[in-house]
Amino acid sequence: MQTTPTITVDGNEAVASVAYRLSEVAAIYPITPSSTMGELADEWAAHGRPNLFGTVPTIVEMQSEGGAAGTVHGALQTGTLATTFTASQGLLLMIPTLYKVVGELLPFVMHVAARTVATHALSIFGDHGDVMAVRQTGAALLCSANVQEAQDLACIAHLATLQCRVPFVHFFDGFRTSHEVRKIVPLADDDLRALVDVEAVAAHRRRALTPDRPVLRGSAQNPDVFFQAREAQNPFHRDCVRATVAAMERFAQRTGRRYAPFAYHGHAEAERIAVVMGSGSACVRAVVDHLVARGERVGVLTVRLFRPFAVDAFVGSLPPSVQRLAVLDRTKEPGAVAEPLCLDVMAALRRAEQAGTATWTKSPQVVGGRFGLGGKEFTPAMALAVFAALAREVPPPEFTVGITDDVTGLSLPYDRAFELPRAGRTEAVFFGLGADGTVGANKSSIKILGDATEMHAQGFFVYDSKKSGAMTVSHLRFGSEPFDAPWLIGRADFVACHQFAFLDRYGVLDLAAPGAVLLLAAPFPPERLFDELPREVQERILELRLRVYTIDAEAVARAAGVGGRINTIMQVCFFALSRVLPVDEAVRRIKESIQKSYDKKGDEIVRRNFAAVDQALQHLHAVPLPGVATATRCRPETVAAAAPEFVQRVTAVMLAGHGDELPCSAFPPDGTWPTDTARWEKRAIATAVPVWDASICIQCNKCTLMCPHAAIRAKVWQPAVTSAPADFPAAPFRGKEFGEANLTIQVAPDDCTGCGLCVQICPARDKGNPRHKAIDMTPVREVRDRERARYAFFLELPDVDRAAVAKLDVKGSQLLRPLFEYSGACAGCGETPYLKLLTQLFGDRLLIANATGCSSIYGGNLPTTPYAKDAAGRGPAWANSLFEDNAEFGLGFRLSVDMLTQRARKLLRALAPLLDADALVDDLLAEHDRTDAWIDAQRRRVVALRQALAALPHPEAQELAELADHLVPKSVWLVGGDGWAFDIGFGGLDHVLSMHHDVNVLVLDTEVYSNTGGQASKATPLGAAAKFASRGKAVDKKDLGLMALNYGHVYVASVAIGAQDAHTVRVLREAEAHPGPSLVIAYSPCIAHGYDLVFGADQQKRAVQSGVWPLFRYDPKVAERGEPPLVVDTVGGAVPVAEYMRNEARFRMVERIDPAGFRRYALGAQQAAARRMATYQHIAQLRFPSVAAGETKHGAEPAPAGPEA
């Protein structure tokens, strides 16, 4: 048994546990990678877990980080202990409040999982860009380098702020520390109780704003006093270092773990020293040990308390022998002399020298380097390069490490193959599928080893950016001795590949050490397995002399009834092969873990998982290896040879997992990226795909409309095409507009996710065998080659002439080429069908401003993106600014487009006399409905105009030629989720709607913050469980549509494509045609609703039929005609709301937790639906009187109101 109790947690949990216990109020807002801290606090509060003071903290989710900061500020002012958790843009939104909190000396700690701030691109990964943006507020900045420190310094920050009243920003590296799972020594309640100064808490409470002792804060001061008052605060900042050191000392006395503002490690007479902050310091430390052992005089100074910068402590930490310092900053401050930490170090040295406190004889030389931006790995090889650079005769004054900078030449070369020796440690990597539970099982393995044995364990988890069919890579280290290795594994002793298909697509064996164990989940008997491998994999296995084992995990999982969750099966195999624990003990502990995890989720779950565990070992086999590679098959090319140059040179490298190797010159310097790249990434993730039966199809095209991935398409083509594959299916097109034409509905077998929505929605059944529909899901292995060939031919067929499509309804719209395809959205995503439809209707003239969220991730996360181009090279132009500013950002698009159009029209009018083409000019300037035929004609007129302009030597003619495309109207769409539109971006959205500009807003309403994991938004409906509403949301969703239609001039509609597809198509067209602002709120099923999304359309129908999701259109121009402007397209009440609710886990789990509560919510939701419908129907009766000029009662003009009348 262990003497010291330990726990196995990630950085977020370690920190949240301390913050929760030392706080009374937490106001939070989800943002990656800090969301987990708020979620845990909310879960604990929901379970009634008390804080250290015996009360359950109040956890509130706000509408933005700005809101969270404001709430915390108010709570602090009125005497409670308050905290918050955030990162990146969230921290930036808190800056104004942070100035206030510092200025008012309110003891406060916020915990930051430090993350890159979006610049040329968004990055969710870790660097110090965000915390560096709050240096100037005066908050103390305390940095933790690993999970244990994150817990400990969280506590120290809370202790110190109470003493010195300076607010603290406690930060640690996003993902690297926030998500690293480690075994740590926990802080017990008794520890915290012993450490917290209750008198300081009481003093804080005594300063509370209260009418019992009234004071005023936040006055406005004039030039006579502001300056002095600001300086009056100096003693508190001066005292902050002392208070922190004192807190660290008290902490050490209680726990034995000793911290200091700066920690030196290395040779006692070091000459070359690296200064570094955060998780990177452990890497430098490891290299220092390595170099010192070889006799080199090197060291590392880890910065913990960055601000206030304690010059004396810093100087005192440096060995007097220091000659050269490399200061490593995990941030970039373009234009600065050096990065912030480096500048502070330089200033501190100079200050010490001036003060005469310097211990060195010759002023040390200081160089500054950047590392790890945007979550870039920082490895011992890179740290080694830093010391090598310091040893140069003239060290580079400014450098980067970890990349190849062939643009400005700043990067240090490093040996990618370098690995530090790691005796006594097992390192294992696991390649899994997002949905197969690999990460969860690995977390369980770490807990098993960490909690039940003396071993030390660590885990990092890397995911790809896709939400369907995503690969996860788990990096696990185990050892009997403590270690701190915050970098990914480079040479693993154990490599497990849980998906056989990955071997074709990724360099799974790149991470294998010679002689390592390779465990493959594969649907082949062991004696056949080797022959099924691609040649490169076979050769590598033989070259590295790997020991190979296999299990048909899917078959075992199927037999045990655990579906595709092969995780526990593979976990058993790992323990059996790695021998880190006796296998019997491992099995026992895995079962304990299953029992613990799923106990309350039902006996059947436990029973099935036990069965999976029990079966695993019997099906694990060693793979016999021949002496030579036998395969004739090689790994397929990452992208097809036909891909454009950029895709070959850049995208393909990223897809292969080698993006780290791309040099700076590979990238456009302003973040501009080509569209139309998703089609080069053939993911082949479906196990079954739809196959079309032309003889049954009724040509409704609903299948292609509903497909979230544009992976099933319809095309009309002329039978004259003779190159069709012999069996290429087609049916005579039912319609006259294309003459004698064929229709083909075709699946893209490598792009389909296998969600089944198309088959579910298909209304056409074989009369003789109604189980057979016009499309049926078919195992992909039976049809892949055939369907690949068919799809290749299908794509070659010319697109239909847009202008020729008779009617842009469901059927007609689906004959148009989607310009949003193969996104990485979840299988069955409810959002993407709307976007795809949008690109079919307006894609060739579409500008999208996209709020951050799911739609910006599947829309714009590299390596490939789904927005595409048509045959003419036109397609949606897309940009993401931020989460909160998207409405304003999109308005900017509109203003700009209008300005350029206006300029083009002005130039055209001015140049008209010179052009000698009056009819052309008149036609170009004429107003017209934006039909496809007219747009096509206008484009042809623009071509003619350019030809005419080419003959004019006038400089304005040149300008017009460049602007002429703006004579073709552009469609500006502001796209985002409910988090944006209902919450963080509502202020801006409301303002944009209040204006007259022609912008179209598409709100993809999933009723939660989907991207960050299902936190409640103001769109979350009554009774739905969501994070921060885990027992059911107590109030109904905000009626955004009703609010918007109050303006009167806004086109407002609510749609549900799965319930009434024709209505959706009509609404998008009406919204686009409306000359002012339009708002379309789109019901979007989401995995966060908790049901199989193959039933997404059925559930949309229930939502509409029950009245929970009314469909309506409010068209201002109808009001102008004196008709009721609101048309309610559904009546509701056809299905009980409870029936709709019972189909989704988000509601059903509330029923499990609190049956009476559920009944109350169901009744409330039914009443709310009825109330909403009654309100709409009331409005739908309204006829607004049409008042023409001169018809007012009191005279020709309306009487002016107010005192000026």
């Binding site: 987990t36 997002g434 977390k443 989720k601 886990a1145 499990r1152």
Partner: protein, 334 residues
């Protein structure tokens, strides 16, 4: 006139019992049933399969997408008290027990051997006054013979009966090849009573969508006939209790069932249509009928028309064809 009845070791004020239905889904409804005059209340079945399906569906919703993307550790809140098991049913049982003074009979529909046993024990421990085992299954497996199916059912009944303190009734469907034999073996396996019969959800077709729909129609008096036959045939064989379920809507229906041997008359559809007061009306109506028809006691009338005592016992065994032929012959003779 004394209407008290013994059933499953319980002394009931009269034979009219609220059968398993939504009418007992809430405590308030149970109180209304008692006030309306129900002599006992059978709760709706605890469905093992439903619990497992709910649990599996929730498990998939909760864990199917967890730990699959950088930005979300899960997509639904992880809540400890969202439990999947019989807890809700047990809590309901306990609350109903506290709220009413008439006996409360739990009902169970298992689908695994372990599930039958464990849930039966749990219901026993939670204070159910008796248990109704709902052997509700459509035999669809061509690989399983009738004998195998019956043997499996008997094993369950035997195991459950041994495992619990309370008495156990078995609710049957009429679809057994040799119902009389099966009933005998059920008694031997320990069944304290038989409930005749279960009613199944029945498939229907949606002609527009070409889909199968399922629904349960409320019974009417015509369904009583099948039950009368089997009450009469099984009545008087040993001391096994008999309850009729399905088809009793009027006092006359109830009288027929009792005359054929029913100890207890379960009423569902009449309650759902007419409200809980139907129990009082049936009780009073039965009382009047007994009085008006000169029976000394309920015991005297119970089973008096069963196969052992009725003047024409063979009538219960004949098929309609034969009976019709005789009727016609008789008319010719006269």
């Amino acid at each position: 006139m004394e209407l008290t009845t013994k059933y499953l070791g319980l002394r009931l004020a009269h034979p009219f019992v609220a059968g398993a239905s939504p009418a007992s889904d809430t405590v308030e409804r149970c109180v209304r049933l008692e006030r309306g005059g129900a002599a006992a209340i059978v709760l709706r079945s605890l469905f093992e399969e439903q619990i497992d399906r709910d649990a599996l569906a929730h498990h998939q919703a909760e864990f199917g997408h967890a730990d699959a993307h950088h930005e979300a550790r899960s997509y639904l809140p992880m809540v400890d008290d969202c439990v999947f098991g019989p807890d809700e049913y047990l809590a309901h049982l306990r609350e109903v027990k506290r709220a009413v003074s008439v006996p409360v009979i739990a009902s169970l529909n298992g689908y695994t051997h372990g599930g039958w046993l464990e849930y039966a024990r749990t219901l026993d421990a939670a204070g159910a006054d008796a248990l109704e085992l709902n052997l509700y299954a459509v035999a669809t497996d061509p690989g399983e013979s009738g004998d195998e199916l019956e043997t499996r059912a008997l094993a369950i009944v035997q195991a459950v009966r041994r495992a619990v303190r309370m008495q156990v009734a078995v609710k049957l469907s009429p679809f057994y090849t040799s119902l009389a034999n099966f009933a005998l073996r059920l008694r031997q396996a320990g069944a304290d009573a038989l409930v005749l019969f279960n009613r199944f959800f029945e498939p229907d077709l949606d002609l527009e969508q070409l889909q199968v729909t399922t629904s349960m129609e409320l019974s009417d008096s015509r369904e009583l006939r099948l039950r009368l036959r089997w009450l009469a045939l099984l009545s008087g064989q040993g001391d096994c209790g008999l309850a009729v379920s399905g088809g009793v809507h009027t006092v006359r229906d109830a009288v027929k069932a009792i005359l054929c041997g029913a100890d207890v008359v379960q009423v569902v559809a009449a309650t759902l249509r007419g409200g809980p007061d139907v129990f009082g009306q049936l009780r009073d109506g039965l009382w009047r009928w007994i009085e008006e028809n000169g029976y000394r006691s309920l015991g005297q009338m119970r089973g008096s028309m069963n196969a052992a005592r009725s003047p024409d016992p063979k009538a219960y065994e004949r098929v309609n064809y034969l009976r019709a032929l005789q009727t016609w012959r008789g008319e010719l003779d006269s």
